[in-house]
Symmetry: C2
Subunit: 155 residues, 2 copies
């Protein structure tokens, strides 16, 4: 497992994301780690990140799934570039083409949430990353992120 | 068009949502209005709500779609209850069963975003609400919210 979060290895210009950018002072600071097979992120929601008293806000959960999924795609792309003989410098930046979040059960506020991500499928230049969100032993949310390389127009 | 936002008509106990709860002081304060056929919400992201400099964060867009979609379902359910002869008091509270967000184009930071919502489909006790997010004249994001009546366990 690489100690440095995936999102901290993005080029500096792309480290301003509200969800995961190390240069966004107001942001959530989501940090994902990749071991070559699975990605893991840990996040404890704030007291105000609620949908109803006692339960985590679905939009926050969607944000966690989003940044963790896109980060996982970037880590996979970096591994592939390295295997192809590229230099291991900054990670490629992916963006979200679509995001799908299934709220299986209410997510309790309090415990640290653990996100796990894996590559589910490749579609031409896109990657479909499957994300699970755990509170304790139980999966509360399932997500799917369709990630695409950042379009040139956004650079 | 009802002047009072849908989300302000939820029972007080359910007004703490980070996205749209009038009692959440740290929250986004998303407000939706329903005219009996279509729902509309207006929201201007903060300077720090970015994915990359100049572009709105996808997790915020997912949050907007979520609260607007769930609010739309609640307004539709209230209309139906009224037609069925019920008293027009607090709105029923819906929760998100699943959320689907399609980022068609990058959403520029700056302009006020306009969300429009409509009922797409009914599935037993669930409603599928279609949401479009506009910046200016152009649709930037399409969303679909599968909303379900709040389970008793969350009350």
């Amino acid at each position: 497992m690489n100690e440095e979060p995936i999102q901290h290895r993005y080029p500096e210009d792309f480290c301003h994301c509200y969800g995961c950018g190390k240069l966004n002072e107001e942001g959530l600071g989501i940090k994902s780690h990749w071991d070559g097979r699975e990605s893991v992120a840990r996040f404890t929601p704030a007291a105000y990140h609620i949908a109803l008293p006692g339960y985590v806000y679905g939009g926050l959960l969607a944000s966690l799934v989003d940044c963790h999924g896109v980060g996982t795609a970037a880590a996979i792309a970096a591994d592939e570039a390295e295997e192809a003989g590229g230099e291991g410098t900054d990670l490629p930046r992916y963006v979200t083409a679509s995001l799908h979040v299934y709220y299986l059960r209410p997510t309790p506020l309090g415990p640290e949430l653990v996100l796990k991500g894996r590559l589910k499928e490749k579609r031409k230049n896109k990657m479909v990353v499957e994300v699970q969100v755990f509170a304790g032993e139980e999966i509360k949310v399932k997500g799917e992120v369709v990630a695409a390389p950042m379009p040139r127009t956004m650079r």
